[in-house]
Symmetry: C2
Subunit: 324 residues, 2 copies
């Protein structure tokens, strides 16, 4: 069973190995009737019609493929270990990494500030002196990447292409000899203190929420660039606003926003947009990659592996998501 | 003889091999008195006090080092072939290439458009659908670089790091096997027709002025990104404005502006800033590199080569600048 997100070509390829149902085109009655027949689910986020009770009747279910990169939306307790769950890890990495570099460069070259001035008619051409000296260069600088999974790895590759030295903060020790991986509080502090650019590419967990708080901001270089392509809540909103106001050479560039009333929102508690050292985009990085069709393509290919009896990629360890 | 642009360390290094005069700290009388003693000049652009008559009395002059990348400001007819003139080629390449990629990414990710909306309070978070599909990716795309000198080469290297295929338009055949170099009108047209991103890195000459005219724009992809880090006059202003108005998916991102009344100016003939598919910066790329001190450092090092009796780098062929 799939959703409307799968394109016709994808459905055709799947149909060579399975009968394909599109849940968005079925009535709730029909869905309930066919649930006991379903071997495999391809979902974006876990469908609301699949309650605990309805999942229990899916006795043939052996395989769940997520189109979203992560699987924290999957209710593992609804089914047992006979169901293999696969993430779509890596499907978004290169695209989100491009967006991260776009934000780094927009901050370094003060793209938004200059265009706001051009729009307002207050701009003047830079010749020599102070205005030119405020433009930053990536070459020779240091990037710290917090969270060194698929996206972090892709960002590191791009940053090294610009001649940056890269440090990463990760739970796991690194395999790439060009990137030094730090761990624990000491590793984190060292990266914050030495980096010209810090990129947040961490999952949001109870350990990472608010990891960039007042103390972390004070450890960072006065003219650092902080980029967030992960989750707004990694950064303490009020501390960040005070820090940006007090340090005009510090820049925050983000694609993600804080949750207000249960959902991500542009309604911030402080007027970030009025600050010249703030750059924002509208959480476009993931959705724009989805729009290329690549994540669906990879999800279809992985489901085909299951349907052909091969071992699928990105099998998730359910113990990382439920206690038992 | 040097100018104020040379820092104290530079002067100290030069002073080990020569008596160093700073022209900006001397009166005109003093300058005229010491001109016959000068062996070597280090200039930003050719100084206005050095008229043809005054240059003629500089009988010891053997070496001129430009701090600017190009030497089109040097009046070669004022002196003979005994004077070696050196450009500062390459000193700005990596920095200007970074700026070019910043503009490419700002256009691809619609950074300015989104921030103008955030400022105006008219923005909404992108989830799926059309707005996300308008974001472009460099990976797998094609970049055409018009002008394949130091800056063009640096841009190509960065673009390939993003997984782009690179074509270059150049007078000379290319040496880099990863970049296909096209020549002549046919080569140019092919690059315009096939590129997702076109970067202008050409010198402005009588052959290149207006190279991007109405016909060239019509050859380009409807959703191409055109980036200009060279000179405004490479692009026909009125044709560009009409093209941007008619093709909302086409984007022009520029660091350089057209000349009005003899100097580069933000006072365009058309309201470019009002278009969502226009991104501008304030001719910061060159001056910001100069502000790092690197071009002066390289100019000092090259002058030291001359003073030590070694062969300096970047010796210019004067026949490319004067007819005889």
């Amino acid at each position: 069973m799939t959703t409307d997100l799968i394109d016709q070509l994808g459905v055709k390829r799947l149909a060579e190995y399975a009968r394909v149902f599109n849940s968005t085109r079925l009535g709730e009655d029909e869905i309930v009737r066919i649930l006991p027949l379903i071997d495999s689910l391809m979902i974006f986020s876990w469908p609301s019609f699949l309650t605990r009770e309805r999942t229990r009747v899916m006795t043939r279910l052996r395989f769940v493929q997520s189109i979203l990169a992560g699987v924290n939306h999957v209710p593992f307790s609804y089914f047992g270990t006979r169901v293999v769950v696969c993430s779509n890890a890596g499907a978004y990495s290169d695209g989100v990494a491009e967006h991260a570099l776009a934000l780094v460069l927009a901050a370094a070259k003060r793209i938004v500030e200059q265009n706001i001035q051009i729009h307002a008619g207050t701009a003047a051409l830079v010749r020599h002196g102070e205005a030119a000296a405020r433009i930053r260069f990536l070459e020779g600088g240091t990037m710290g990447i917090l969270g060194y999974g698929g996206i972090g790895t892709s960002i590191a590759k791009l940053a090294m292409g610009f001649g940056m030295k890269v440090f990463a903060f990760s739970r796991r020790a690194g395999k790439d000899s060009n990137v030094q991986v730090g761990q624990g509080t000491r590793g984190l502090n060292r990266i914050l203190e030495t980096s010209d650019v810090v990129v947040l590419a961490l999952p949001l967990t109870k350990f990472t929420a608010g990891i960039i708080d007042e103390k972390a901001l004070l450890r960072m270089k006065k003219n650092a660039i902080l980029v967030n392509i992960a989750r707004g809540e990694l950064v303490d909103e009020s501390s960040l606003f005070e820090h940006l106001k007090a340090n005009s050479d510090f820049h925050y560039a983000t694609d993600v926003w804080w949750y207000k009333k249960g959902r991500e929102s542009l309604m911030t508690d402080f007027p970030f947009a009025a600050l010249p050292n703030f750059t924002g985009t509208l959480h476009v990085s993931g959705p724009s990659v989805l729009a290329t069709g690549r994540p669906v393509l990879l999800a279809v290919e992985n489901t085909l592996r299951f349907l052909k009896g091969q071992t699928p990629k990105n099998i998730v360890d359910r113990s990382e998501y439920i206690s038992k």
